[in-house]
C-alpha cells in the first residue's frame, strides 16, 4: 500500500505522545469487544468462505467431533463415539440432552437433515470440498446416525471436527441459509443476539452449553464490529473501545508490544503457506517456456533467500517451509530436498539450461505486495527479469485456471484442515489449478487420499512430496503467522490454526 508510510506516521505520532485517556473497563460490563477487518458475507458457515466466518462458526455451532488444538486428539462433541462399519460408512452415537439456542432438542434427525442438505450440490454450499465427500446420512435410531462417504475418505474425522457443523433441522428448513445468516441458531457455546450483515455481530454466553470438549464460555458478551482500516482498529484499542484485534501487521505489532503495561501481543503461526508456482506443464503461451526445464525450476528455488524473507518480513512464528503442505498436517513429511539460498548456483543452473543471461517473464501475485517485491528482486538478482503484476485474487485465479501464468506468488491456508490432502492433493491432481500435471505425483496422491490405512497414507504422501521437491515443481517458501493484540484485561493463548476461540478467553 502506497499510503502505508503516512498511515504509519500517524500511528507513530499517537504512540509518541503520552496517552492521557485511561482505558475503559469493558470487564465491568462483561463485554469483549473484537474487530473484524473484512465484511463477513453470511453468518451461515456453509455460505461464507472467510476466516471471520470460521471464527463465528466455532462459537455458534458444534461439530460431531472436536479436535483438541493442543494435542490434535479427536474427542466427541455432539457425537460421543464413532466407528467405521465398512469402508464408506461411519456410524456415530450422539450425545443426549443437547438443546439448540431456540430450545429445539438435538437428535439424529438434525444430523440427517444437515448432512443431506449440505451434501446436495444443488443447495450451493460455498466451499464444496468441505462437504462433497459425503454421500448422505441416515438415522438408525434417535441417537445413532450413519454417514456414507462417496469414496473411501480417511480425512472424514478431520472434516467432521472442522467445517461440518450441525444445524437444527426444522428451523433451517424453514428459514434457509439467508435466514440462518440473519438469525443464527446452533448448539454452540455462544448464541447470536444481533446481526447487522457485514458490520456487527453480538454474541451472548450460552448458559446451558453441554459438557463439550470446547470448554464452558466465561465471558458474558462478545461484541464484534467490522473496522476495515487496521490503523483505526489500533486507535480504537488505544481509546479503550476494543479489547482484541488480530491479523496485525508485524511492524505495528512490534510497536504495540513495547507498550507492555497496556497491551498483550501474542504471535502464532497459521496454516497458510506461501509458495511460487511455476508453469512446469508448459500451459502458458510463453515460448520457449523456461519453466519446463527442471534446472530453471531448481534455479528459482536456489535464488530465494527464504530465511531473509522470514526474518525481515514475516517475522514472528513464521518458518521456512519446503513442502507443498503445512508441517503439522497429517502426512506432511518434512524430510524432502531443500534448496538453500545460493544465487551463484542458481546462475550456473540457468546457464546450463541455456539461459546464461537469464530470461524475461511475467510474475504475478495477489496479496502481500511487499513480499512479492522482495521475491521479485531475488529473481532479478540471478538474471530472471520479472515483469511484476499485482492482480485481484479472482482475476489471478481465472488466469491461473486458463494456464496463462508462467510464475506466480501464491498462498494456501488449507481451510485449517490438519491433513496434507487439503493442500498437496488440491494442486497436484490435474485440477484446473495444477501447473505441473505430473501423472506419477497424481497416482501416488490418489493412493494416499483413498486409503484408510494411516501408514500407507504417510508412505505415499512422502513419495509424492519428495518427488515434488526433487522435481522443484514449486518453490515452497514460508508459513504465515498472525499477531493477536489484546488489552491487559483479556487472557487468551491463541492456537496455531488462526481460529479465535472465545470460549478460551477470560478476564484477567
Amino acid at each position: 500500500m502506497k499510503n502505508a508510510f503516512l498511515k504509519t506516521t500517524a500511528i507513530t505520532l499517537a504512540l509518541a505522545l503520552p496517552a492521557t485517556s485511561p482505558a475503559f473497563a469493558d470487564k465491568a460490563d462483561d463485554t469483549l469487544r473484537v474487530a473484524y477487518t473484512k465484511e463477513l458475507e453470511n453468518v451461515d458457515s456453509y455460505f461464507n468462505s472467510s476466516r471471520e466466518g470460521v471464527v463465528l462458526q466455532r462459537a455458534v455451532w458444534d461439530g460431531l467431533i472436536y479436535r483438541d488444538p493442543e494435542t490434535n486428539e479427536y474427542k466427541g462433541n455432539l457425537a460421543t463415539d464413532w466407528k467405521w462399519i465398512d469402508e464408506k460408512t461411519l456410524e456415530l452415537n450422539l450425545r443426549e440432552g443437547v438443546k439448540f439456542h431456540n430450545g429445539d432438542d438435538f437428535d439424529a434427525d438434525d444430523v440427517v437433515a444437515t448432512v443431506n442438505f449440505v451434501a446436495n450440490e444443488a443447495n450451493g454450499v460455498k466451499t464444496q470440498r468441505n462437504v462433497n465427500w459425503m454421500e448422505s446420512a441416515e438415522k438408525v435410531d434417535q441417537f445413532t446416525v450413519r454417514i456414507k462417504t462417496k469414496d473411501v475418505f480417511p480425512a472424514a474425522i478431520e472434516f467432521l471436527s472442522g467445517p461440518v457443523s450441525m444445524y437444527p433441522a426444522e428451523y433451517y428448513a424453514e428459514v434457509g441459509p439467508s435466514g440462518m445468516g440473519l438469525k443464527p441458531v446452533g448448539t454452540g457455546p455462544y448464541k447470536v443476539v444481533e446481526v447487522v450483515p457485514g458490520q456487527r455481530f453480538v454474541l451472548e454466553k450460552n448458559e446451558n452449553y453441554h459438557d463439550s470438549p470446547k470448554g464452558q464460555p466465561t465471558i458474558g458478551k462478545i461484541d464484534i464490529r467490522t473496522i476495515p482500516d487496521v490503523n483505526t482498529q489500533i486507535a480504537e484499542l488505544f481509546s479503550g473501545s476494543l479489547d482484541l484485534i488480530w491479523q496485525v501487521p508485524a511492524d505495528q505489532a512490534e510497536r504495540l508490544a513495547m507498550m507492555e503495561d497496556q497491551f498483550t501481543v501474542a504471535n502464532e503461526s497459521t496454516m497458510r503457506v506461501g509458495y511460487l508456482s511455476m508453469d512446469a506443464a508448459g500451459r502458458s503461451s510463453m515460448e520457449p517456456n523456461p519453466f519446463k526445464d527442471i534446472k530453471v525450476r531448481q534455479a528459482v528455488n536456489y535464488a530465494i533467500n527464504r530465511n531473509a524473507l522470514v526474518d525481515n518480513l514475516l517475522k514472528g512464528k513464521s518458518k521456512v517451509v519446503w513442502t507443498p503442505c503445512f508441517p503439522s498436517q497429517f502426512g506432511c513429511d518434512q524430510n524432502v530436498t531443500e534448496y538453500d539460498y545460493d544465487p551463484e548456483k542458481a546462475k550456473a543452473l540457468l546457464a546450463e539450461a541455456g539461459y546464461p543471461d537469464g530470461f524475461k517473464t511475467d510474475f504475478y501475485a495477489y496479496r502481500d505486495r511487499d513480499y512479492a517485491e522482495a521475491i521479485s528482486s531475488f529473481l532479478n538478482a540471478v538474471g530472471i527479469e520479472t515483469d511484476f503484476k499485482m492482480l485481484q485474487y479472482s482475476a489471478l485465479r481465472e488466469l491461473n485456471m486458463k494456464g496463462d501464468v508462467p510464475i506466480s506468488f501464491q498462498t494456501w491456508g488449507s481451510y485449517s484442515i490438519n491433513d496434507a490432502s487439503a493442500m498437496v492433493s488440491q494442486f497436484f491432481k490435474h485440477g484446473s489449478l495444477d501447473t505441473t500435471r505430473d501423472d506419477q505425483t497424481r497416482d501416488w496422491l490418489n493412493v494416499a487420499d483413498r486409503s484408510n490405512d494411516p501408514e500407507k497414507r504417510k508412505e505415499y504422501y512422502t513419495k509424492a512430496l519428495q518427488r515434488i521437491a526433487d522435481e522443484a515443481y514449486w518453490a515452497p517458501m514460508f508459513s504465515y503467522n498472525t499477531n493477536y493484540v489484546t488489552s491487559k484485561e483479556v487472557a487468551y493463548t491463541p492456537t496455531a490454526d488462526e481460529v479465535l476461540r472465545f470460549t478460551n478467553m477470560t478476564w484477567n
Partner: protein
Amino acid sequence: MLPFILKRLGLAFLVALTVSFISFSLLFLSGDPAAALAGETASGEDIEAIRRVYGFDRPMLVQYFEWLFKALRGDFGESYYFKLPVSTLIGDRLSVTMTLGVCGTTFALLTAVPLGVVAAIRPNSIIDRIALFISVAGQAMPSFWFGLILIVVFGIKLGWLPPSGASTWRHFIMPTIVLGYYAMPAIMRLTRAGMLEVLNSDYIRTARAKGAGEGRVLFKHALRNAIIPVVSLAAVQMGFMLGGSIVVESVFALHGAGYLAWESIARNDLPTVQALILIFSMFYIIFTFLADVLNAWLDPRMRSS
C-alpha cells in the same frame, strides 16, 4: 422555465441510461464473476456450476435488458456476496452516506463561502493569506491521513469523540470535517475569484454610487452573481461526496455506500455494483439538474440558453 426543466429532465434520463449500459458492459469485461463468487477454496467444477446457476453463460445484452427491466421496477436483484436483496443492503448504507454527504457539503459551504468573501474584500491581506493557506493545506493533505490525525487527537488523546462507527451524531463530527475540508478549497477559491471579478464590475460601482450600503452591495449585488459557478461546483462536490467518500468511510468504519461500492467491485458482486453505479450517477444527474434550475432562477439569462 417549464420547457427548460423538461428539456433538462429528458437529457438527465438519457445520461442515466447511457451510464448504466456502459458500466454494465465494462463490468462484464472486467472479470469472471463466477470465480469471484466461488471463493478461494473452490475447484474448477464449483465455478462451472456457479456459472450455470447464475446464468453468466448467456449473452451480455440479454443479461443487461433483464437487469434493466427489473431495475426499473425497483428490483436490483440479490447481492452475490451477502445473499440479501440489493435494495435492502443499499438502503441501509445509503442513509449513512447521505448524512455524511449533506453534513460535509454544508460544512464546506458554511466555511468556504464566508472565507472566500472575506478574502475577496481584502485581497492580499493577512486574512486572504490565511484563507489561501487553509485551502492549500486542504488540497494537499490526503483525507485518510487527516482522518487519522483527528482520530489520534480527538479520539485518543483528548477522548472527546468516538474514533469510529456510526451509531450517534458524535460519530459523524470527524468524518464531516475531513470530507468537508477536502471539498472546501475549491469552493473557497471559486468564491474569492468570482467575488473579485464582480466587485470590479461597473454595476457594483453603480450600486455604490447610488448610495447602497456596503452589506447590500456585497450580498445582494455581488454575491448573488459570484455564487452561480459555486452552486454548480457544490453540486458536483456533493455528488462526489455521496459516491466517493470511500476513504473516509473506511477510516472511520462507517459502512456507507461508497465503501460498499469499493468492496463490491473487489468481490465482483455485480448486482450491487450495478445498482450503486446507477444510484451514484443519478445523484450526479439530480444535483446537476438542481444546480441548473437554481442557476436559472438566480440568473434569468440562463433559462433561454
